[in-house]
Symmetry: none
Subunit: 223 residues, 2 copies
DNA sequence: CTACATTGGTTCAATATTGGATCAGATAAA
DNA sequence: TTTATCTGATCCAATATTGAACCAATGTAG
């Protein structure tokens, strides 16, 4: 069941743990200190830490303190939690690695039905009236390109990237960098990519995707 | 200025949900906040949210809040479990996409310390006496190349691939395809890659990695 | 060893937050 | 007009948070 402030505090604590905050001695600050730091009552911190105790990321001892359990860095859960802290710059670098290649795969592998799905997402993005609507169809467009690749693993990697980018700090960033002018540029670039796909032109698709991602990077990171 | 009706608000909310706005903890803002944000009475927001509740996209709890029900397709756990079923062919395709690029990054970004770590893993693999030992240092060699990339996300993707390949069906496959002769080929190819890295030759490193992975693919998939 | 400070464990009453429900009046469309 | 919808307001019920006090286990200084 979802929780409120306590849950948010638990999330913050997890982030700071996975960022390596208290790894030197594995000991967390006292609950009273955390309460003061977060500006909430100790009871609330206690609930938050209770959640961490439930998933076993932490153990508590009366009179001694709260300690991190030795998390296996090779566990998939640990990897995923580290991935969630991916910086926008790192993410864009990998997108520029994967997505042009995916576009090239798509040009040779896509079925007519799949290409139609890409086209539909493109048109919906072009007709979108506001930022969340456009954002949705933009993401859907990229996702449907990956769906054409016939490589399930690649598709899942893209799902992972999409999920990371859907987290709130990213959302704020995208909202800041959005403008009607940029939306129209994106639509033109999507169109170029779509054209290359229907022409079954792998190199053209690859190039079109790379150009598009360079634009996105410039808008998002401001460089 | 068009008037906001409950239905329109409902569709706006749906868009924002599908754009990933509140996925971080699945909790929507309080109705009173939404009412203020949309500049509309709370009753109207209540009807709008009521529609979302009817389609089951949302559940409401008195005193707690309104929560998204859609967790599944975007759940990271679900993605990872799908990834675990990745076929060797799909995996090799993505390795050939990522690892040559990673090798190129490594050639330009690696510190001397990191290059030494790569060399150590290479030597340990060359001196390995049995297949599990070699397998370990081989994986470690590739991992240390990724560690040179200065892109944490890329490093984690490689961790993920490594974890998947460490599962038992993969191990059996690797055991079948192993031979002393092949081990020596791998060592020579690793050496070529290492040489390119210490020469700070991105293109050479990329090519060496690609050649190596083609060999691995041929041995593993028999084609 | 003793005395004291620190820290997590527990409980309780008061307050704040949040969704649920209803009503009278205003506004707009048919 | 009639009908439907939105508004602004009020109260209720369920849940969360607060602030405080006290307990028990542990560590530390003397």
């Amino acid at each position: 069941m979802p929780k409120l402030v306590a849950n948010e505090i638990a999330t913050m604590l997890k982030k700071r743990i996975s960022a390596g905050e208290w790894f030197q001695d594995g000991r967390m600050p006292p609950e009273r200190d955390l309460a003061a730091e977060f500006g909430v009552a100790r009871n609330t911190v206690r609930r938050a830490v209770g959640f961490l105790e439930e998933d076993g990321t932490v153990v508590r001892h009366v009179g001694r303190g709260t300690f991190l359990t030795a998390t296996d860095p090779t566990s998939i859960a640990a990897m995923v939690s580290r991935m969630e802290g991916t910086s926008p710059a790192d993410m864009m670098e990998i997108r520029q690695l994967l997505e042009p290649a995916a576009a090239a795969f798509a040009a040779t592998n896509a079925s007519a039905t799949e290409l139609n799905a890409v086209r539909e997402a493109h048109q919906a993005a072009c007709e979108a009236s506001d930022m969340p609507d456009f954002e949705h169809w933009d993401a859907e467009f990229h996702h449907r390109v990956f769906a054409c690749c016939r490589n399930d693993f690649l598709k899942e990697i893209h799902n992972l990237m999409r999920a990371i980018r859907n987290q709130s700090p990213w959302f704020e960033m995208k909202k800041r960098s959005f403008s009607e002018e940029r939306r129209q540029v994106y639509c033109r670039e999507h169109q170029a990519l779509l054209d290359a796909l229907v022409c079954r032109d792998p190199d053209g698709a690859k190039t079109a995707m790379l150009i598009h991602l360079k634009t996105v990077e410039k808008n998002l990171l401001g460089r």
